[in-house]
Every structure is written in structure tokens, then in C-alpha cells.
């Protein structure tokens, strides 16, 4: 089961509203999960990166400057894996044989980047691609014991961070657009009806209700039904029950 730090991070990610605040939040993510660093990197998001890459990170400025001076962008296997892979990538399995790549990972240690890393590819709903990397200084043993928790939690957190960055760095706060049926399902759910109840009430299949609710959850960036209803009320998409 996921623990309290997971829900606390998700809550904070949703609360971020000001441009630039997202970067501070990465510090919190790192702190809560006992990590060394976290990096969000987007390559192809029209509203965010018309000309250049967008990134938010917790690395030391010196390392960012050095990385740019050395043009590690062009050889970094993490970026390549993040762009191509469907599944999270453990930095331990990256091919580091090329001299320039060896140099990059070697020098990264001088800047406390963290020697273990995981990269989560992000595939947004509008076809955009981004990635989130997290690093730590765990030993091999600690890493193999805790990695599965990171993989499970951060696949979700990565998508929430992506949404938060688009929301705060792109233009303005948009109220998510829900379809009439999605609103209808949410309204019944807010009155405590189960998916089966709702299916009978509006004459569609339970699976269809479930899928409307999943899409509302995604649009409202919620974690579960209760959370989705709460978010819908706070956006005034539905009235509070009663």
C-alpha cells in the first residue's frame, strides 16, 4: 500500500498555482522520499517549450552550467531512454561505455547528483512527451530493496508533476472540461451511489460508469472516486451533496 507521503505529495502538487512554485515542490518531493535529486524535463510541449527545452530540477546550479557547457544534452542516455522507453528506466542498466557518457556520469558525482537513478517517461494526453528522473545515493542493497516502491509511486507522481508544470508554467488556470455524462455520474457518486447504482439510475453499463468516472478522475487529477468528487465540488462542477 502507498503511504502518507504519497498522498501528501499529490495534495501539494494540486495546490501549486503560481509559476515557479513547482520547482520548490520538487525539493519537497526529494525530501519526503529521501532522494538526492529530482528533474522534470520536457522536450515537446508547444505551450511550454516553443524554442527550447523546459526543465525544473533540484541539481546544483554548477552542475546545470557544466552540463550545458559540455553539451551533455546531445549524449545523455537518460534523455534518450526517457524519450523512447515506455517503462521506467533504471540508470544502472544504461549503456555507459562511450567515453563522453562515462565522463558525464563520473563528473556528475562531483556535483552530488546521486549515483542511483530512475527515469519515468511521461506521455501526456495531448501527445506531448516529458520525463521525470529521481536520483539517490543508496547502496546497491538499499536500492534493490526500495526501488519497487519508487517505481510504483513515481509513475503516478510523474504524471501529476507534468500536469502541475503545464498548469502553472503554461497559461492560466483552466477548469477541466467534463462531459454532461461525466458530470451526471459524479453528481450521483457525490450522493453515495455505487457504480452499480448509477448504472441502473441512468441506464448504462457499470463498466461505462466506471470509465466515465476514470476519465473524470484523470481530468481532475484525482487519485480515487472520493477525491474526484471532492475536486469536482471545489471546481463547482457539481453542488455539494445535501
Amino acid at each position: 500500500m502507498r503511504d502518507v507521503r504519497f498522498s501528501s505529495i499529490i495534495e501539494k502538487l494540486q495546490a501549486v498555482s503560481k509559476k515557479g512554485d513547482g520547482r520548490d515542490l520538487l525539493d519537497r518531493v526529494v525530501e519526503e522520499y529521501g532522494l538526492s535529486n529530482a528533474v522534470y524535463y520536457a522536450r515537446k510541449i508547444p505551450e511550454l517549450t516553443p524554442k527550447e527545452h523546459f526543465f525544473a530540477l533540484t541539481y546544483q546550479d554548477d552542475w546545470v552550467r557544466h552540463y550545458q557547457d559540455q553539451d551533455f544534452f546531445s549524449i545523455d542516455p537518460v534523455l534518450k531512454a526517457g524519450a523512447q522507453s515506455l517503462l521506467p528506466v533504471d540508470w544502472d542498466v544504461l549503456d555507459r561505455r562511450a567515453p563522453k557518457i562515462q565522463q558525464m556520469f563520473g563528473e556528475a558525482q562531483d556535483f552530488d547528483v546521486g549515483h542511483k537513478g530512475l527515469t519515468f517517461p511521461i506521455r501526456g494526453v495531448n501527445g506531448e512527451t516529458a520525463l521525470l528522473s529521481i536520483t539517490s545515493d543508496f547502496s546497491d542493497r538499499e536500492w534493490s530493496q526500495t526501488k519497487s516502491i519508487y517505481i510504483r509511486d513515481f509513475q503516478v507522481i510523474a504524471n501529476f508533476i507534468h500536469e502541475m508544470i503545464i498548469r502553472t508554467e503554461g497559461g492560466g488556470r483552466l477548469c477541466p472540461k467534463l462531459s454532461p455524462r461525466e458530470i451526471e455520474c459524479l453528481r450521483w457518486a457525490s450522493e453515495g451511489k455505487t457504480y452499480e447504482d448509477i448504472a441502473v439510475l441512468i441506464g448504462i453499463r457499470t463498466g461505462t460508469v466506471k470509465t466515465y468516472m476514470e476519465m473524470s478522475r484523470r481530468k481532475l487529477n484525482a487519485l480515487n472516486t472520493t477525491h474526484t468528487v471532492a475536486r469536482a465540488i471545489s471546481f463547482k462542477l457539481i453542488d455539494p451533496p445535501g
Binding site: 528506466v89 461505462t208 470509465t211
Partner: protein, 217 residues
């Protein structure tokens, strides 16, 4: 056992990929007579170009391929969105980073005949379903969505695979076609294990140099 192969790694798994596409041609073109394209003995479509994750059943004794299915994120091109969208109501579009689509379930016909029963379904069927749900659970997905026919509907029932029909089933050509979703969580895994007699993970432990080694402990 189940071997996971990403589309981007197809060159390193040329044997499995060749066998998979050949089996798919045999099953979907020759046996089921679906309207699929077969080229040089392979059944392959545009979605195979999208870097899918293939769930491949491997014979532990011979390392041969026994069957496969294909997973695609619903945020990119997928069959429900691009081919079968009429199955869903107009205002329902499934696109979520945490929901992936399963398609092209197929088994080598010879293996399927010889395969021992695992509860109500063959060992290979149970293994493929479990493989897809297990990897989904491992990386934090919520659900798999799939478009399927009456043949699969029977298999799902026998495997105790609690799939929820979404939208309205309809005929495509001669084939009655359904869209369904299933949760990728421990409950589903337990139900499938109960029905099939599996007690442990079906996922193969990858070699340390395999990029997937990070995922399967």
C-alpha cells in the same frame, strides 16, 4: 513464463518478435479470417510501430514462443481510439497515462492444443493475462482496456477475469466486438491466480543488463 519486450528492443529479440508475428498471422488471418494485413508471413499493423510492450509467453524448456499480447498506452495511437471508437458513447474517450490497452491476444495453435489446463483455461492463456496485469500493477497503472470478441469473452469468463463491458458491443464485419476494462491491482491478480493455480509471479527474471531488470525483482 512471461518475457516482456518493448518495441524499441525488437532488434535484440528478433527470434521472439518473428515468432510472435508469425503466430499472429496464423491465428488472425488463417484461423479467425479477420481483416488483417499479412506481409512476408507476418501479421503486423501500424500499432506495432508505436513502441508497444509485448507480453510474450515462453516455453521454459525450449525457449520457444507460445503466445503473446500487446500493450499500448491510451495516450497515444491505440485500437479503441483509432479503429473501434464507435463502441464507446460519443462523449467518452479513453486517454489516461495510467490506463493501457491490451490487444492481439494470440497463442500458437500447436501449443494451445498441447497446453495443459490451468483451472478452466490453458496455462498459456492464464500466463498471458497474469503477465499483463502483473506488469500493470508493478508500474502503478490503474486499468487495462481492451477490444475483444466472443471468443475472448469466453476465455475471460473461464479465467475468472472480471472484465467490465464499456459502451455497447456491436458487430464489425462478422465479429461481435466488445470494449472492456479491468483493474490492474492485487485483487485481479489474486482472482486470476486462484482460477489458474499460479502461486507466484509469471514474469521472467531478466538478465541484469536487460533494461527491464529494474522492474522485475
Amino acid at each position: 513464463m512471461i518475457r516482456l519486450i518493448q518495441g524499441i528492443d525488437r532488434m535484440e529479440h528478433a527470434f521472439e518478435i518473428d515468432r510472435m508475428h508469425t503466430i499472429r498471422a496464423e491465428v488472425f488471418h488463417h484461423r479467425l479470417c479477420w481483416d488483417v494485413t499479412v506481409k512476408d508471413g507476418w501479421e503486423i499493423d501500424v500499432f506495432d510501430e508505436q513502441n508497444p510492450l509485448y507480453i510474450i509467453s515462453i516455453d521454459p524448456d525450449t525457449d520457444d514462443v507460445r503466445g503473446s499480447l500487446r500493450l499500448l498506452p491510451t495516450t497515444g495511437p491505440n485500437m479503441l481510439r483509432d479503429v473501434f471508437s464507435d463502441l464507446l458513447p460519443d462523449d467518452l474517450e479513453v486517454a489516461d497515462p495510467l490506463i493501457w490497452e491490451a490487444s492481439r491476444f494470440s497463442m500458437d495453435p500447436e501449443y494451445a492444443c498441447r497446453s495443459k489446463k490451468c483451472g478452466q483455461v490453458s496455462e498459456i492463456t492464464a500466463e498471458l493475462f497474469l503477465g499483463a496485469i502483473e506488469i500493470g500493477a508493478l508500474i502503478g497503472l490503474r486499468q487495462l482496456v481492451t477490444v475483444y470478441d466472443a471468443r475472448m469473452a469466453r476465455l475471460f469468463r473461464r479465467a475468472n477475469f472480471n472484465i467490465d463491458v464499456v459502451g455497447t458491443p456491436m458487430r464489425y464485419g462478422r465479429v461481435m466486438t466488445y470494449a472492456g476494462v479491468i483493474d490492474t491491482n492485487q485483487t485481479t491478480i489474486n482472482e486470476l491466480r486462484m482460477a489458474s493455480g499460479h502461486t507466484a509471479s509469471v514474469l521472467e527474471k531478466p538478465a541484469p543488463t536487460n533494461p527491464l531488470a529494474a522492474l522485475v525483482a
